[in-house]
């Protein structure tokens, strides 16, 4: 049951458009309902070969030897692939954004760090033959101690999951072992708060569970090119990843996709395309590499588990004075996309509320679990569960109805947010009011009269007069510049430079969102601008064949 409440924000919309706002039938509906829309798996070439991987049965182990001699003699086996067959057998997905260090092999050669990690790939005439040959590969494992819990993994002496990050923590900006958010002084505010509310929240790892499992079919094309039909969620993302790992110019790759049987974030990792194309390169025949349901659920990267600790300081009237977070993202054995999700999560804190003091330390932690990746709401869903479960406790502590408590603390147009930009285009208050009305929850007069359009800005647009910063978690041995400067940063509203003196007149609150200051008072802590870095030779060779979309950070290991 759905209704459109057109009376809200009506003066901000033109509802008289020809095509926008119409319930037009999908362009592709006929193909879908008649079963004729082509998916990657419908491109079953004649002579198609099948790829199955040999996977680690251990959470953590050193590979002493891989013996494929028996497997190579099995019926139908065309070729066995090992790490040495992959032209560039090390990658991190976000290298396309220049974010993070290459940390994950396509086929591991020296050790495995999660159960299910691939160490060899069988290419055979049939899937059944490939499965049989997988069982004939003998791997001599030296089992290592493993760690499955994020807080155990960051303790001194924990097993090192990923050699690239020996402390089991991703390194941010080449400088800290976590991403910080510092806004005001939470400790000072806790000291004067009337209520303190603390909580610990744990999100579970979750399977994206698309109907169509992840996969790709690659085949040699004319003119020395390869075609790849894929279920990817990012066509050029997967193409760029394959070009890098296969050290091949993108012009030799022809990717076709676009119609996918559900993704939900699980089809970004580009695990299948490089191996399918490599198979086609080395056999000269079409190759299919796809997960079965068991691999989809146990090898395919899930939504990573997150653990959050939250502490709130609340005033007697129910206003939240300070909120402190400590977060641990379980990235599993490799980085994939978790490091970026944390930045997204930190930019989202403290949720849709205006809180004058906010603090967060968020760690991207490596454990011997299946690597985590994107899923619907990546970087946000887990912390929103924590924030909103915590808000319920805060409301109870303050003696307020949970909806009144949200509206009281809700952000409004023109409010300063903890990442030091002004809020605009807000609508949280109105959503709360509509649900209260529908659910028959009686709100206070103040909550009923509240609006996102007014009551914001002014005092609420101010940056804190003082922010407590620190150098906790500083690391050495990594170097990295800041994020790229070119062209960035100017698109959103900037901090408003209000004088600290309380007597200064403040501009009309409603107009604050569009004000751009001449000189912001806030200055980042006294860090010298990063020196330009000479190109690192190792990194340059690693870049060979890689398509790079942009440069997010000059992040290199020394």
């Amino acid at each position: 049951m759905i209704e459109f409440r057109k009376e809200f924000f009506a003066n901000e919309r033109d509802d008289n458009l020809n095509e926008i706002g119409k319930p037009t039938r999908r362009q592709d509906i006929l193909g879908h309902v008649t079963g004729r829309s082509p998916y990657f798996d419908d491109h079953l070439f004649e002579g198609l070969l099948h790829i199955r991987c040999v996977r680690s049965p251990h959470h953590h182990a050193r590979i002493r030897r891989i013996d494929v001699s028996a497997a190579e003699k099995m019926p139908g086996v065309v070729r066995v692939l090992l790490g040495k067959d992959v032209p560039l057998n090390l990658n991190t997905l976000l290298s396309l954004l220049d974010f993070g260090l290459d940390d994950e092999p396509v086929l591991s050669t020296t050790k495995v760090a999660y159960k299910g990690e691939p160490v060899a790939a069988i290419i055979a005439e049939s899937e059944a033959q490939a499965r049989a040959a997988v069982l004939a590969v003998k791997v001599d494992w030296e089992v290592l101690p493993h760690v499955l819990d994020v807080e155990d993994a960051v303790k001194p002496g924990a097993p090192v999951v990923c050699d690239v990050y020996p402390s089991n923590k991703f390194i941010y900006h080449g400088k800290f072992d976590h991403q910080k958010l510092r806004y005001g002084d939470v400790e000072e505010a806790f000291a004067r708060a009337d209520h303190i509310v603390e909580g610990r929240y744990q999100m579970s790892p979750i399977e994206q569970a698309p109907m169509e499992t992840c996969g790709a079919i690659a085949a040699p094309e004319v003119n020395d090119r390869f075609v790849c039909f894929t279920s990817t969620q990012g066509l050029f993302f997967s193409l760029g990843t394959a070009a890098k790992l296969l050290t091949m110019p993108s012009s030799r790759l022809h990717f076709v996709g676009g119609t996918v049987g559900g993704g939900f974030g699980g089809k970004v990792d580009s695990m299948h395309e490089p191996l399918a194309i490599l198979g086609a390169m080395l056999t000269g025949r079409p190759c299919k590499y796809a997960w079965d349901r068991e691999e989809e659920m146990q090898v395919g990267a899930p939504r990573g588990a997150e653990r959050w600790y939250i502490k709130d300081g609340i005033a007697r009237d129910g206003r939240i004075l300070a909120r402190k977070f400590t977060g641990y993202f379980d990235s599993g054995a490799y980085t994939r996309l978790s490091s970026y999700a944390i930045i997204k999560g930190v930019g989202h804190l403290p949720g849709p509320y205006t809180i004058p003091n906010v603090y967060a330390d968020v760690f991207c932690v490596y454990t011997n679990r299946t690597p985590a990746t994107a899923m619907r709401g990546f970087g946000i869903t887990g912390v929103d569960f924590a924030i909103e479960a915590h808000m319920d406790k805060g409301a109870e502590m303050a003696g307020l109805n949970p909806i009144d408590f949200r509206i009281l603390n809700s952000y409004r147009d023109g409010d300063m947010k903890a990442h030091r930009r002004l809020a605009k285009n807000c609508a949280l208050v109105e959503c709360c009011q509509v649900v209260a009305e529908k659910g028959g929850v009686v709100l206070t007069q103040a909550s009923r009269a509240a609006t996102s359009l007014l009551d914001g800005g002014g005092e609420r647009a101010r940056l804190p007069s003082r922010t407590a910063t620190d150098q906790n978690g500083i690391v050495s041995g990594f170097k990295g510049g800041n994020y790229a400067k070119k062209g960035g940063g100017a698109s959103g509203p900037q901090p408003v430079a209000l004088p600290i003196a309380a007597s200064a007149p403040t501009p009309a609150s409603a107009s604050l969102a569009s004000v751009r200051p001449a000189s912001p008072t806030y200055q980042p802590a006294a860090t010298p601008p990063p020196a330009p870095q000479p190109p690192a030779p190792a990194a340059d060779t690693a870049r060979h064949g890689a398509l790079r979309f942009s440069s997010l950070s000059g992040f290199r290991r020394r």
Binding site: N18, L181, E430
Partner: protein
């Protein structure tokens, strides 16, 4: 032993797109000789309706019927670069690229029409039904088909356009986390009613009342399918799903849909959705991405409703019957809170 009802609330906002920017998407638009347009993309349709929403955006911008537009995606030989379909970026980023490409193509179409009608192109408008006419003088008109035909066969013009949308990359300050994350936010509020069996620990979701603010519902049916499906996923995350085994040996993890638990049709609750539309200044016709955020408020709302019903805080997902029972036992029995009780004055609208 008894059944206890409770209600839980949550409200959220959601950042649209890759939050640091630096994630461009491109679009190419061109016309056949008879005025039928193709939009070439490399963006992925995951079932969310990427092809359909970009088709409506192109038609609206070009000023032609939606039937005259076909969206072709995704072939890397013909479609220009797109970062991909994730982070709720499809509608916002690709939609803006399509607007830019369609505006360029529309300008050529109007110039061609102007030459045929011997008027100034700035005096021309489209009626959205396949005609171009002089503003205020509908009789001085030419069909979009004739204009495109004239452009290509008489005037030697390509009726085509290129579009790209890029939010430039933002820096992040290592010490304070100062950054310029995303450009717009969607919003939601959710009230969930549950029933908890204090003998078995089982939780049933009885009813969901929601409000979602999506910028603009570019296609209300596509928005509806996202919100309905996403809320189901949120309920599933709250009460059922985990790739972890329920018991501690990791070899007991789920490998198929028999033991990876999800709610079935009988577990679904009626969901009463209200859609609010506050257009995003930089969204295509104000649109934000509804696809991801729709699940988020449901998880905490269910946890809060369980507390309201039996007084047990479950801070670790999923909320299994075992956790509920252990919590009730630790409290010495169910302790209903009823903090969001419906009142007799409610609902007057």
């Amino acid at each position: 032993m008894a059944m206890h009802r409770g209600r839980g609330f949550a409200s959220i906002n959601y950042p649209i797109g890759m939050n640091l920017g630096g994630d461009p998407s491109q679009a190419l638009v061109h016309s056949n000789p008879d005025g039928k347009f193709t939009v070439a993309l490399s963006s992925i349709d995951l079932g969310q309706g990427m092809k359909s929403v970009t088709r409506q955006i192109a038609a609206e911008t070009l000023g032609i019927p939606v039937a005259d537009v076909y969206v072709d995606t995704a072939d890397s030989d013909t479609g220009p670069h797109c970062m991909g379909s994730f982070a709720s970026r499809g509608t916002h980023r690709v939609g803006n690229a399509v607007i830019q490409a369609a505006q360029e193509a529309r300008a050529v179409m109007l110039e061609a029409a102007a030459e045929e009608l011997e008027v100034d192109a700035t005096d021309l408008v489209t009626d959205g039904r396949g005609n171009i006419h002089v503003k205020g003088a509908p009789s001085r008109s030419i069909t979009t088909m004739a204009a495109c035909q004239a452009a290509q066969f008489k005037q030697g013009r390509t009726v085509s356009g290129r579009g790209i949308f890029l939010i430039p990359l933002s820096e992040v300050d290592p010490e304070t986390g100062e950054m310029t994350p995303v450009s717009c936010f969607a919003h939601a509020a959710m009230l969930v009613e549950v029933e908890v069996d204090d003998e078995t620990g089982e939780v049933s979701v009885l009813d969901m009342q929601s409000a979602y603010e999506v910028g603009r519902a570019l296609n209300p049916k596509l928005v509806e399918q996202q919100l309905v499906g996403g809320a189901w996923m949120g309920m599933s995350h709250a009460l059922w799903e985990t790739t972890e085994p329920y018991y501690p040996d990791r070899s007991h993890g789920p490998v198929d849909f028999n033991n990876y638990l999800m709610p079935g049709p009988g577990d679904l609750a009626p969901h009463h959705i209200s859609v609010l539309e506050r257009p995003a200044p930089d969204g295509p016709f104000g649109g934000k991405g509804p696809g991801e955020m729709c699940a988020n408020p449901v998880l905490p709302a269910v946890a809060n409703a369980v507390y309201d019903a039996v007084g047990v805080r479950i801070d670790e997902l999923p909320i299994t019957p075992e956790k509920v029972l252990r919590g009730i036992r630790a409290n010495g029995g169910a302790r209903p809170k009823m903090r969001l009780a419906r009142t007799q004055f409610a609902g007057a609208r």
